[in-house]
Symmetry: C2
Subunit: 195 residues, 2 copies
């Protein structure tokens, strides 16, 4: 019997919305931005800082990567500190049934067999239209924004889990929200979770 749903998602795919709606249907809480707020409180970092460093690797040059590796020997980076706080919090909230969006929760809870790991994705056209509608136009084109965010999410995931983000076999179910529609995704997840 499943107790937790983790949702990993491509930027703009509607994964967060799907997580929220599924949680509502199941009558359990959904943790997303709440995690940022809690980690900000417990770590002392600003909310914006936690948001920027709790799920996204920094932009990297080759030199940047080398410095990051060197830092690993020298001690913890701020990003590492945020990871540790986030991990602690996720282990804590996962004691009760809930939906957790992002933040490598699939990996953090991987030893448990009552967790359903979900990946939500969609093609570029669907996501580009969605982010412009949700977050407005910005200097960078939406396609560039998508690519950049996903790349940094994948790099962050790889940094801490040493596995590949977005590879089907790392999740129990992966859904194309553009093809299937957000409502259908929620229906499917509700059904699977309750079995």
């Amino acid at each position: 019997m499943n107790k937790i749903i983790t949702i990993s998602r491509q930027f703009g795919s509607g994964g967060r919305t799907i997580g929220k709606l599924t949680a509502e249907r199941l009558g359990i809480p959904c943790y997303d931005r709440e995690i940022i707020e809690e980690v900000a409180k417990s770590s002392g970092f600003a909310k914006e800082y936690v948001e920027a460093h709790g799920e996204y690797a920094d932009h990297r040059t080759w030199l940047g990567s080398a410095i990051k590796s060197a830092n690993r020997f020298g001690g913890m980076t701020n990003q590492d500190k945020i990871w540790i706080e986030q991990r602690k919090l996720i282990l804590e909230i996962a004691k009760s049934p809930c939906v957790i969006v992002g933040r490598c929760a699939d990996y953090i809870l991987k030893e448990r067999d009552d967790v359903l790991n979900v990946f939500i994705h969609a093609d570029t056209k669907f996501r580009a239209e969605r982010i412009v509608k949700l977050y407005g136009e910005k200097a960078d084109k939406p396609e560039k924004r998508l690519k950049d965010k996903d790349k940094r999410r994948a790099a962050y995931y790889k940094d801490y889990t040493e596995t590949e983000w977005g590879v089907a076999s790392n999740y129990h179910i992966s859904l194309d929200s553009g093809k299937l529609g957000v409502e259908n995704c929620v229906d499917l997840l509700e059904k699977i979770f309750s079995r």
Copy 2:
């Protein structure tokens, strides 16, 4: 409205069984080994030869890959000939509703919007037990057999589609048959297809 389901699958995941059962539920044909037989007839190659070269890249050394690339300029390999026949056949059978297992059907039909592309996978333990039950013990350990088959399927896919096999965003839905169970996978696909 969907008309076709394509099923890509890790070796031993039960993807073929899920395809067959889903097709039965929907009252449409499922093409799997039938493709091998038809391609053997139309190409003149032996059935066993088509089976071995219609979905699996050869074992490769670095030198072998270089020779293969060189061959591409020199003319078609037998594998290329089988690919062409298979492609023709898949385009033909996809004129009517059906389920097609393997053979890059997802890629071959990618321009259509009435096709549901599915990827079935499961963890190594589930698949190892399954292949021993289905195909018996062999000289190679089941874990090695799984790894080898999947590697050659991925290489074949990459050769002809230039995209990555098993990456979630290449499919509309990916399911872990070990976690969800074969029957649940069939239920889900039936439901999604009919929407």
